[in-house]
Symmetry: C2
Subunit: 225 residues, 2 copies
DNA sequence: CCTACCGATCGGTAGG
DNA sequence: CCTACCGATCGGTAGG
């Protein structure tokens, strides 16, 4: 179990980089620019920062095992203060999840741009999904799985969003010249299941992501004869 | 982390607080009639019952989201009383996991018995894994995934056990006449990833399990030419 | 197997 | 964004 470094009244977490304005110092000002009032921008940035921190923790530990205090600590503030930025833990999770799906959809659509061969398109989508699932650096994190510890009402909303996302793959599979005895529905589900759980089986230092995507297509490729 | 011995027949509560049971009584008979003193068998049965209840809950909600009180309640006793039967929540989880892997290995080996064609063998193993993952009625439950909310020290022990289990599939894949440009390691990992997450994507009322197994083999089957 | 409890931790809030 | 706190719940224990 993690020994909590939860701050007592005496020792507080040190804030990373973003400290409140020090004594005599004005509020954060962009380097050469004009001073800004307590703008929406600052708050929005701070909020986005918190979302990314939370996303990373949720992805690492799951919903239940990530506490509000964990998130607050890494963001450099106290648990109660987090509620200045978020409404609740559940709302935070839902927002992260939806933003991640949206970003993922955009990335994949971009990766597909200009490609016409159906297998080539599928491979590009697979590669992009791998990158998304394995990249710990943004909101596009592996949070689509591991919904077991999420409260049911929250989960239902997420699954609906996810279904919409999967339309991309539904279309990709529909374009494939697959043998007639292959169930395209199951085919898509199996493929997505692989990709979504990538952070569970991927091992750094073995095959590169592009090689994995190529292998996946090699396996899943069946030409209608 | 200490791993409990696997066979449950001789397993006993760790704390022999009760007086010695009488002369070896036969197992408890539901409505049989004769009153019985408390024997090992009763305790072992009760313990096994608790393990199955806990397994089901862990599978449903994950480690973290399943409380000792949840388990106790469903077993019909109070939280504190559970510690007469188990040592800790962690030890309980590890024991369940190991027993499930052992049972799964046995079931698959049995399903393979008599089959010689490598593809037929792989398909039989896939089907058996599906049955195991989707059957909510025993210790062979879908608990091999979803390890994210499990404390790291526990998780490490489980992953080691799982690796041993995967040897079965390593052998099955080794026997396949696959094209040379397919990475057998990745091939096995992808296949297991599908099967292990089956309870995440399976939908009752669509394809039957046997049909799914057949489809999986249809997709994963590539003849060396 | 129960009663009665423990210290820790949880998500969240009031008021500044 | 902090201080100070709430009620609920957690895994676990002592003693019967």
């Amino acid at each position: 179990m993690k020994l909590s470094t939860l701050p007592s009244a005496a020792s507080r977490p040190t804030r990373p980089a973003r400290s409140k304005a020090g004594p005599g110092q004005a509020r954060a000002v962009p380097d050469g620019g004009k001073p800004q009032g307590p703008g929406h921008e600052d708050q929005a940035d701070r909020r986005h920062e918190i979302l990314e921190i939370a996303a990373e923790l949720f992805a690492e530990r799951g919903y239940r095992a990530t506490s509000i205090r964990d998130i607050a600590e890494r963001a450099g503030l106290l648990a109660g203060s987090l509620y200045y930025h978020i409404r609740s833990k559940e709302a935070l999770f839902v927002e992260i999840h939806n933003k991640a799906l949206e970003a993922a959809a955009l990335r994949i659509r971009t990766a597909l741009d200009g490609l016409t061969d159906p297998w080539e398109r599928l491979q590009a989508a697979c590669l992009e999904m791998l990158e998304i699932q394995l990249n710990p650096g943004s909101l596009t994190l592996p949070i689509m799985n591991n919904l077991r510890s999420v409260p049911v009402n929250v989960r239902d909303a997420l699954i609906q969003q996810r279904d919409a996302f999967e339309t991309i793959f539904r279309d990709l599979v529909a374009d494939l010249p697959l043998e007639a005895d292959i169930d395209k529905n199951l085919y898509r589900i199996l493929l997505l299941s692989l990709l979504n759980s990538a952070d569970g089986w991927f091992r750094e230092g073995r095959l590169a992501r592009a090689e994995i995507a190529a292998q996946i297509i090699r396996i899943f490729r069946h030409q209608k004869t």
